[in-house]
């Protein structure tokens, strides 16, 4: 089953063409990577896929639930870890019982449960990144879109991240990872290169 179809996407900022006729499809149970140098249009492509930006041309069609982990740790600095889970659960329409079990699982898996009552401004960069990722995983998405997900991870978290990704894939989730550097290409079903706005 096709989860994501990206068709002839083009996007310009002023005279600068950032994306040129980008097309690809993603099926269920797939792990795709998109690599490219800084400024090659990776984040722009993700923002178009999640609907944050409108393409100048082309279309995106997505079936199923989307989980999106942005490159920046987009979190409320004065809310605690637990409060973030509650706030995002309201957005995803997740009930309290499900929220409690999923948030506990995620905090245990990424080993940051002890910080659940800490405010974000009191957390380390790595823990913020874990929370940032966990919020994308909370709805148990069909398609998980990750922008530079392992920036700021320590080795243990990096290993855990791939372990969790494997679990998700087995459960039928597809994952799209965008990074400027992908070292373990064998983990991916397909890796695209984004060069000057074109996928190769």
């Amino acid at each position: 089953m096709v989860l994501l179809t990206v068709e002839n996407i083009s996007k310009k900022f002023g005279r600068n063409s950032v994306l040129r006729d980008v097309s690809f499809e993603m099926d269920q149970n797939m792990l795709y990577g998109i690599v490219g140098e800084n400024g090659s249009g990776k984040t722009t492509l993700l923002k178009v896929i999640v609907g944050e930006w409108k393409p100048d041309r082309g279309s995106v069609s997505l079936t199923g639930r989307l989980g999106y982990c942005p490159q920046q740790t987009l979190l409320f600095s004065h809310l605690t870890v637990d409060e973030h889970f509650s706030y995002f659960a309201a957005a995803y329409r997740i009930d309290r019982v499900t929220l409690a079990s999923r948030s506990n699982d995620l905090m245990d898996f990424f080993n940051f449960r002890k910080f659940r009552n800490e405010k974000v401004y009191e957390l380390s960069g790595g823990t913020m990144q874990k929370l940032n990722l966990s919020l994308a995983l909370l709805p148990q998405p069909d398609l998980l879109v990750l922008d530079e997900p392992y920036n700021g991870f320590d080795w243990d978290t990096y290993v855990h991240f791939w372990e969790y990704t494997g679990k998700l894939k087995k459960a039928g989730c597809s994952i799209l990872v965008v990074a400027h550097l992908i070292t373990e290409k064998e983990r991916f079903d397909k890796v695209f290169n984004l060069v000057q706005g074109r996928l190769t």
Binding site: G51, E52, L66, F76, H78, S86, Y87, A91
Partner: protein, 254 residues
Amino acid sequence: MNLHRIITGIMMILKMVFRRRIVIIALLIIPIVFLTIVELTAPVRIIPFRLASLGNMIFINRPLKDIALVFFSVTSSGFLSSLLALNLVQIEIGVNRRLVICGYSPFEILLSNLLALSVLIISIALYVALLVSRFLSISHFMAFIAGLILIGFVYGCYGLATGSLIRGKLEGIFFIVMLANIDAGWLQNPMYYAEAHNNIIIRYLPAYFPSQSAIIAAFTDFSAIPARFYSILYGIGFLIMALFIYYNKMRIRK
């Protein structure tokens, strides 16, 4: 529109506001500073003045100090509400955008902000009214509080519209301070208004109806209902503008 999301939003916004100590300190201190300076500097000479919304034949005789105290309580309520609203809309825009991607609608987020802001506006109005009542006797205390709530509503909605329109924090603050200073802090002063040429222009500014409503309640037994009604209309105008801009800025293309 989902009630659970809106209630969650309000609770979270209020938690964030009350955890920023500097905001609470500013809310508590600014009105005290304004009113204390007026108390220490304003003359006590009694002067007759007219209120624009009561017609030309009605004169009110009050000490200049009383007029200044009431006027500055209106100014500080409007200014604080506006700054808070600007802050609510601007400060966490990236995370709010993420919430929209995750399922919140931009309307739900703006409505949560407005309702959380309403709680703050009412608290500010009560606090300022209690403070000013230490310095002078207010004729109709509840109606005076209503006037302060209305200036908070009008200027709060102006803050939401400004925050939705302008991305930069400094530029946003500049717009708030400029209008609050010129309109609420200067032109609506009954002393200035009475002598102003073309004072019809002043009647179209956002602080006109709320300040008339508060001053009528503070010093007279006349009805302030028309002034209240037009204040609400003015606030709704800003609110519609804010909703339109915010929705267009935050919506995602599904």
